[in-house]
Symmetry: none
Subunit: 413 residues, 2 copies
């Protein structure tokens, strides 16, 4: 079963507002196995809205329309849906009595315009509003269903849960839903998709979503089946093929981000970590220490943004900086060794690079990074250049790469 959601209101067509009711509705509908195939925001325009409703009812079985049920001239949803379905509206005294009662309990006179809210589309079931004045309407037309809900989120949620869910559950019995989240690092989004698309494309169920953010990727597999056993079996079937294809690119199977996975491995072996950051300027330490409980393994570190601090705090020799430049394999190595020496940590990460936007006079191009990872026994340095760097993104990429390298290192030892 498929649904479309239409949010009504010109204010949601301004630059500062998004419709969030549809997120709630989508979650609820998905749990019933109803797929949302499109969402729309339409302004307070009767003809435009009527045409959107007519089109949606031609495309899917269920159309939910939120907002535009208030008492003002701007509230066009009732009229628009009546127009779309070519039905009349009738004035319903019982609804008006309820609205009047509501105003009385607030000790306020009911404005005359609220009478509009007592208009009901022919054949509609009225959905009483326990949280506001605007009643909803549930309209069946052959095998199609149009549902009108009030716009204020607390009114909409309450009405949907109390009055729409039970009706929908009779039409679409809830499904058993299970989700597998794989988190992936160390490859590009297109490499990832090329690797797994041949697998997930063969299945409509589970639904697969690939998310990527600054080098960190997630694959969500969402199985919807009649029984829990079936959903789990399906996830196991598809998930195992994807896991096989990705191998050690997968760093987490429970949703944990990379900094948590690394932290757990460090804590498990009672190892400690320090960082020495130049171009990432504290961003890596920030990410590591945002994990609650990170003080168990994260000692802290150094932000050696200037040459002078690389020498004074980390003991990087001046002639090394002079010979190879601050953005070099040699400097990254010396920074990591210095950080290990000065803190006594088990592992160190050192990052030096040029986050842009300009290329330093004497040396490394914008986007060039060296990342050193290791222990006092053995430090390895990796090198990457990100093109057309954007300062924020390239720093995030470098921090991600560093955590990924440390994670692989911890997997080996």
């Amino acid at each position: 079963m498929e649904a479309e959601i239409i949010a009504v209101g010109s204010e949601m067509l301004t630059a500062g507002r998004v419709d969030t009711n549809s997120l709630f509705l989508t979650a609820q509908l998905n749990d019933l196995g109803i797929e949302v195939t499109a969402k729309h925001v339409i302004g307070d325009d009767r003809e435009r809205l009527a045409s959107a409703v007519r089109r949606a009812l031609g495309a899917v079985r269920l159309v939910i329309i939120s907002g535009g049920l208030g008492p003002t001239e701007d509230d066009v949803t009732r009229d628009a849906v009546a127009l779309a379905l070519d039905r009349r509206q009738t004035f319903t005294p019982e609804i008006l009595a309820g609205i009047e009662q509501r105003f009385r309990t607030m000790n306020r006179p009911m404005p005359e315009i609220n009478r509009r809210q007592a208009m009901v589309i022919e054949g509609a079931h009225v959905l009483p509003n326990e949280r506001g004045t605007a009643p909803g309407q549930w309209i069946e037309d052959a095998d199609r269903i149009a549902v009108l809900l009030p716009g204020p989120p607390h009114e909409l949620k309450h009405m949907f849960e109390r009055q729409c869910l039970p009706r929908l559950a009779r039409i679409a019995p809830p499904l058993a839903i299970h989700t597998l989240v794989l988190r992936i690092s160390g490859m590009s989004e297109s490499e990832l998709d090329q690797t797994i698309a041949p697998i997930y494309k063969r299945y409509e169920n589970p639904a697969t979503t690939v998310l990527a953010h600054n080098g960190d990727m997630q694959v969500h597999l969402r199985a919807r089946c009649a029984s829990e056993r079936e959903a789990k079996a399906l996830l196991a079937e598809v998930g195992s093929q994807i896991e096989l294809a990705l191998g050690d690119r997968i760093y987490s199977r429970n949703g944990d981000p990379l900094e948590v996975v690394v932290g757990q491995k460090l804590a498990a072996r009672r190892a400690t970590l320090t960082v020495a950051e130049s171009a990432t300027g504290g961003g890596l330490a920030d990410r590591i220490s945002l994990v609650a409980g990170s003080s168990a393994y994260f000692l802290g570190g150094f932000v050696t943004y200037s040459r002078r601090l690389k020498m004074d705090l980390l003991g990087v020799p001046e002639d090394l900086l002079h010979r190879f430049g601050p953005v070099s394999r040699e400097t990254a190595l010396a920074m990591a060794n210095g950080a290990l020496r000065r803190t006594g940590a088990t592992y160190a990460i050192a990052i030096t690079g040029n986050a842009g936007p300009t290329t330093d006079g004497d040396e490394a191009p914008s986007g060039a990074f060296f990342v050193a990872i290791g222990t006092s026994q053995d430090v390895q340095v990796a090198h990457r250049v990100w093109p057309a760097p954007d300062r924020v993104r390239v720093r995030a990429f470098a921090a991600q790469m560093a955590l990924d390298l440390l994670n692989r290192r911890l997997n080996q030892s």
Copy 2:
């Protein structure tokens, strides 16, 4: 002139994701006097998208379609728009060469599937993508315009600003729009609104927006008038009243964030800055060093997450830590003094606190922070407790407070 916006992507039809590109696009279009009459989210389905595009082009003159230009099978936008307009696509070797070049600079082989991104709809102007692989397309069909933009926000924004705005400005001559951005720190959002609402409520034009994010606030006044002179006069009239009401809570009148304002003051007096962070774990250094050119005044600093590093790196005496605890006025002061001594910087900021979620066994409650600011002559310590802390937010609040205090200090001297 009217426009519709279509965001493409099944992931935006899940319960966890909203389309935000349309907010940016709406702001930009409104500045040109173009009204957005509807917004849509359509999944990765060629026929559905084609039908949505066909309908939108029948309703308004400009249709902007974002997303679905990637290299995978899910990326159906090119095919759908070609179908909607009944046009063919041609393979364009120059685009492929550009994509190949991009992969070469990243030292990665180009996956074969990226060839798809070199397909161009007949008659389209190609909009080169300087931030990613997917080029955009600008297609005119009689008096209608369809614009295809990539989904990642940083790619979309860059492409829209550079390549679409100039074309649109020729079609829809912009209104005179002037914006005054005041940035504010050192008060709560409700204090701010209570102070200025009596002023801005009196005006429909300029439109006023108040934004607040982790203790940093912005008031945007946006005047849209027939002439520049008129817009400026209106902004001056309303802006001066708001400035008078807020006084020195305003730290910037040109949109610059606090870390940039502080950086400019440091650079102007050839002063340098170091930081010593405990509970903020590198987040303050990260924010300071994200400013391009910050190496002129930011030397770097210390993330002394453990007690041991506070002693070893900053020379905080063990008995002081023992007597007062790591989250104390005394420790903050000793950290700042240690950072000044070890780096020779003119100014130091030191932050120690408990970001939560739990209260340390022996001492400070969750949400308690001490921030020390000063020079080798004079360090001042401020104390704050944020209630019900959320780790991410409370750390950001502490960093904001530190920058605000340093800014006030720099204003005095």
